[in-house]
């Protein structure tokens, strides 16, 4: 039979198999294989503010980090729990308004408002999203889509919380270096934290809820409760971002509910590589500076994100980090059959 066909095989590199699960790290080479990418990431991010040419770009880094927090939350919810959150702006808005209120009406300094806004905001968001958690996935998408749009209109119509003008005069961070390093370190912290979380036992339960929630119910666990925990984690991330944002801009208004915050994390996740927690952060680093450059074009940048997003989804691109990880961990060869 001369019907030879070629097929591409992908095999894990030997070094990956040896170091999987940290069972046997025998040499410096294997140690480096594992740690170098992570070190590059951490060091790179910490060094970033120092190498930025101007204050404008330093501010951009802070904004990137805030979007990165949202993107981390989105990736976590979508690919590890199965809930698609179409309204990141909801978390930013709630966290931001809370921080602004705590600061302007109660006079707390940022050091106090940020943690409170994060946790309280997370609790409020989870509570508001609770009704749709026992239901199927599409309801969660619909409700998260709607909340920012509706809240924006309600604040505008009822003219509460500062209405269209917003709340002004929010205190800023003590010093711009603190501002930058705080958000950067938060991103790094939560990046590694989430990676750890999804491999803990409770993380496995989340992934199981995504895979097959009936089986999880049959094992005696209340799915709604675990979904609520996951939503709480993601909304804390978003609210943290919102609180920081408000202190950076010293103002909070309905633009916190803008579509930018909803769609950019999704685009960043898809481009950067869904499922790898690093991918979304990378995606933000790519998209946010581009968006800054495109600011002159007004809302065209949203069209831009959306079109790239659709292109990636339709052509089933795996995303940059997934591609990168594959290249790093596996090698390919052609095999004739």
């Amino acid at each position: 039979m001369n019907n030879e066909q070629r097929r591409r095989e992908r095999l894990d590199r030997g070094i990956k198999v040896r170091t999987d699960g940290l069972y046997a790290i025998m040499s410096l080479r294997e140690l480096c294989y594992l740690t170098v990418p992570r070190l590059v990431l951490i060091v790179g991010m910490l060094v970033l503010p120092l190498v930025m040419p101007s204050m404008y770009w330093q501010r951009v880094i802070s904004i990137v980090c805030i979007y990165a927090l949202l993107a981390l939350g989105f990736d976590f919810l979508a690919h590890f729990v199965g809930l698609v959150c179409l309204g990141g702006a909801f978390f930013i808005g709630v966290g931001g308004y809370l921080a602004a209120i705590l600061n302007t009406f109660l006079g707390f300094p940022p050091v106090v408002t940020i943690p409170i806004a994060t946790l309280l905001g997370g609790a409020i968001c989870t509570l508001l999203l609770l009704p749709c958690l026992p239901l199927r996935g599409v309801y969660f998408a619909i409700v998260t889509l709607m909340y920012p749009l509706v809240l924006m209109r309600i604040i505008e119509a009822l003219n509460i919380l500062g209405g269209t003008d917003g709340i002004m005069g929010v205190a800023s961070f003590a010093n711009r270096w603190i501002e930058q390093y705080f958000v950067i370190s938060m991103v790094v912290l939560f990046l590694f934290g989430l990676r750890r979380l999804v491999n803990l036992d409770i993380g496995l339960v989340f992934r199981a809820v995504k895979d097959n929630d009936q089986a999880v119910r049959a094992s005696g666990m209340n799915i709604t409760f675990y979904k609520a925990i996951a939503v709480f984690v993601a909304s804390c991330l978003g609210c943290l971002g919102g609180a920081c944002l408000v202190h950076i801009y010293m103002w909070s208004g309905i633009s916190l509910f803008a579509l930018d915050f909803s769609i950019l994390p999704i685009a960043a996740t898809v481009i950067g590589g869904a499922g790898t927690v690093v991918g979304p952060v990378l995606g933000c680093f790519i998209l946010v500076p581009i968006s800054e450059l495109l600011r002159a074009f007004g809302t065209l940048r949203i069209v831009f994100y959306c079109l790239i997003l659709v292109a990636f989804i339709v052509f089933r691109s795996e995303g940059i980090m997934v591609y990168g990880q594959r290249k790093y961990h596996q090698f390919e060869r052609w095999v004739t059959i």
């Binding site: 979508a78 698609v84 619909i142 769609i263 007004g298 065209l300 997003l309």
Partner: protein
């Protein structure tokens, strides 16, 4: 009395907005988040024909409906079909397309108060001593006709029955020789045409603004959730519920509370009766 009249008008308007969304979700289980975008595009296309090109109004309406149906079908055929079955990707893709269209229109300079469509019939009539525009009566009339037509279509024509079959059980429909992809395209085209019809009927009552796209999306989703995702009769009933609730709030609390009503309606439905009024979702969910 005037509550009755305004309520009916408002409810019919909501029903028209929501039917397109309900149809597409009911048949292909894809939430069409581009619904609002299609609504606004229809408005602008009609405006283009009527004001810019000076085409006869009726002809423009006809052309717009066809164009918007084609646009909807194209969206499905080229984008959504490739992500069919992958729930997360479907949702994201549909949302992204909707946003792209709406924000693209906003960037294109289509904002401001300068775009209007003429009403069908000028003047008003007094019903029980309350002045009602003719146009609003036309809205109610056509709305009722559309609902009746839909009912007949889905119960008595082959394509309509095929669509219902697909809505109930896609696999079974496939086995009976109903091409589910084709049906989904048809559903999407129909849904877009309904959005277009709603736009054509409702936009003359105000201006064509991009914000209307988001408002329509919110209201359509609210109505569909209360009525039960996938049930178009439920959507009609829910439209009446929410429509009257909104008019009552406007009367007694003030007109800014309309959106609050929509939000509260959704939350209450999800807490008390998640499958909505006529939703079959609960039953389907129970199949293990």
């Amino acid at each position: 009395m005037d509550i009755l009249i305004y309520g009916t008008i408002n409810s019919m308007a909501l029903a028209l907005m929501a039917l397109g969304f309900a149809l597409v979700y009911g048949i292909s289980r894809v939430p069409n988040f581009a619904h609002g975008a299609l609504y606004v595009i229809s408005g602008f296309v009609t405006w283009g024909f009527v004001r810019a090109l000076g085409v006869n109004y009726l002809l423009s309406i006809f052309l717009t409906m066809i164009i918007i149906g084609v646009i909807g079908a194209l969206i499905y055929q080229f984008i959504l079909i490739r992500v069919r079955g992958m729930a997360i990707s479907e949702i994201i893709a549909s949302y992204a397309i909707g946003l792209a269209i709406l924000e693209g229109l906003r960037w294109g300079g289509f904002k401001g108060m300068t775009y209007t469509l003429p009403v069908f019939v000028e003047g008003s009539v007094d019903i029980a001593e309350i002045p009602v525009d003719f146009h609003r009566l036309v809205v109610v009339g056509i709305g009722g006709a559309v609902v009746a037509f839909l009912w007949l279509f889905t119960h008595h024509t082959r394509i309509g029955l095929a669509l219902r079959g697909m809505a109930q059980d896609e696999r079974a429909a496939l086995m009976l020789g109903i091409d589910s992809d084709l049906m989904a395209v048809v559903a999407m085209a129909l849904g877009s045409m309904l959005a277009g019809l709603a736009a054509i009927l409702l936009l003359p009552l105000g201006n064509i603004v991009v914000e209307a796209g988001y408002n329509v999306l919110i209201l359509a989703i609210a109505v569909c959730i209360v009525g039960g995702l996938g049930s178009w009769m439920g959507a009609v009933l829910a439209a009446f519920l929410i429509g009257f609730a909104q008019i009552l709030t406007v009367r007694y609390l003030g007109s800014h509370y309309q959106m609050v009503v929509a939000l509260l309606a959704i939350i209450f439905t999800l807490i008390l009766r998640p499958s909505g009024l006529f939703g079959q979702q609960k039953e389907l969910e129970e199949r293990v």
